[in-house]
């Protein structure tokens, strides 16, 4: 059987655990979702500085001097660069099912409409970040980094996020009875 992955979950899981340990030793654990706010805040400070300063949340990020662009923001930039470069180099080895902007599982269930897929992707993105900011973190900051620190809040986030996601996935892919 042809391999349907480039590296296995075992290799990736161990590498990610070691990377998290390294990051915690050098600076601090991994996290992504805060940087969406930082970017929003940087843009807001540029476009509408008075509004940005008047907003209790945005004013905490994107300060005038360093724009809030620090370790965390560089980390997410690195993710974009690392993901992009490895995709360029290894695209040939990427399994066919993992390629492209229209997942075949989605297509089989919801049809060929690109607009429909992109609308779901957009709406999902809105919920992702609203939820992540409300909870204080996402998959990387809460689940991977947070649970690894045995943080009580991250266990709660892990349970509620996985619970809701599993229910929603089953709802989306429910089979009609009868």
């Amino acid at each position: 059987m042809e391999r349907d992955y480039i590296i296995s979950w075992k290799v990736a899981g161990i590498a990610l655990g070691l990377l998290l340990t390294l990051a915690t030793a050098l600076v601090q654990p991994l996290g992504v979702s805060t940087q969406f706010v930082v970017t929003d805040a940087v843009v807001a400070h540029k476009v509408a500085p008075e509004f940005a300063e008047s907003n209790a949340y945005l004013s905490k990020y994107g300060e005038k001097e360093d724009w809030g662009v620090g370790y965390g923001w560089m980390l997410v930039l690195g993710m974009f660069v690392g993901g992009g470069v490895s995709a360029m180099l290894l695209r040939k080895r990427q399994p066919q099912e993992d390629k492209g902007s229209m997942p075949s599982m989605w297509q089989a269930r919801f049809g060929d409409s690109v607009v429909k897929r992109n609308m779901a992707a957009f709406g999902g993105g809105v919920l992702l970040l609203f939820g992540a900011r409300l909870a204080g973190g996402c998959t990387s900051g809460h689940m991977i980094s947070g649970i690894s620190q045995l943080a009580v809040s991250s266990f709660l986030f892990g349970v509620t996020a996985f619970g809701a996601a599993i229910l929603m996935a089953h709802f989306l892919y429910r089979t009609r009875q009868g």
Partner: protein, 176 residues
């Protein structure tokens, strides 16, 4: 400056791991959430298993720069629920959508766009949310170590072994 470079390099490695392991792939994520293909949950359980052990070993030597998120039960719980729905609908999380967008996936670019909007909407709603969902039932940055009252390494070792056992032996893919 050094911190910025370290952040960038760690991010590069993180993005590369996510791409190479197929974590940016819709079939892997929805396969896991539909409890058919356990790839993502095995990957995460392994990462957390290794990470917990790594962090608490560092902590023994006083070398861990921990960053524990505060436990405000209503906000974290409700945020998790909203996040979970967005995760299943988009098929991405905030990290994987960035990597998938770099890969050239157009749906992921829409998720990134949505994410900026979601973060902005949250900043507008923040004053109301802070006084209700964040200030109430807020137990601060507590860990199981604080809760149980003994050294975290004694929790970390069995917890790590349990997660690794779960990933390597217990979780099995199931297809129709």
């Amino acid at each position: 400056m050094t911190t910025l470079i370290i952040g960038f390099l760690i991010g590069c490695a993180f993005g590369t791991i996510l791409y190479l392991s197929g974590a940016t792939s819709y079939r892997r994520i929805l396969g896991t959430l539909r409890l058919k293909d356990m790839w993502i949950i095995k990957l995460m359980a392994t990462a957390i298993g290794v990470g917990t052990l790594g962090i608490y070993l560092l902590d023994l030597g006083g070398l861990a720069h921990m960053s524990v998120k505060p436990a405000y039960l209503w906000g974290v719980g409700l945020g998790g629920l909203i996040f979970g729905v967005g995760w299943a609908v988009s098929g991405f999380c905030p990290g994987t959508c960035v990597v998938a967008a770099a890969e050239g996936k157009k749906d992921a670019m829409f998720t990134v766009l949505g994410a900026f909007v979601g973060a902005f909407l949250f900043s507008l709603a923040f004053p109301v949310i802070e006084s209700t969902l964040i200030a109430r039932a807020n137990f601060g940055s507590i860990t199981l170590e604080d809760l149980l009252g003994f050294n975290g390494i004694y929790i970390a070792i069995p917890f790590s072994l349990a997660l690794l056992g779960l990933a390597f032996f217990l979780l099995k893919d199931r297809y129709e």
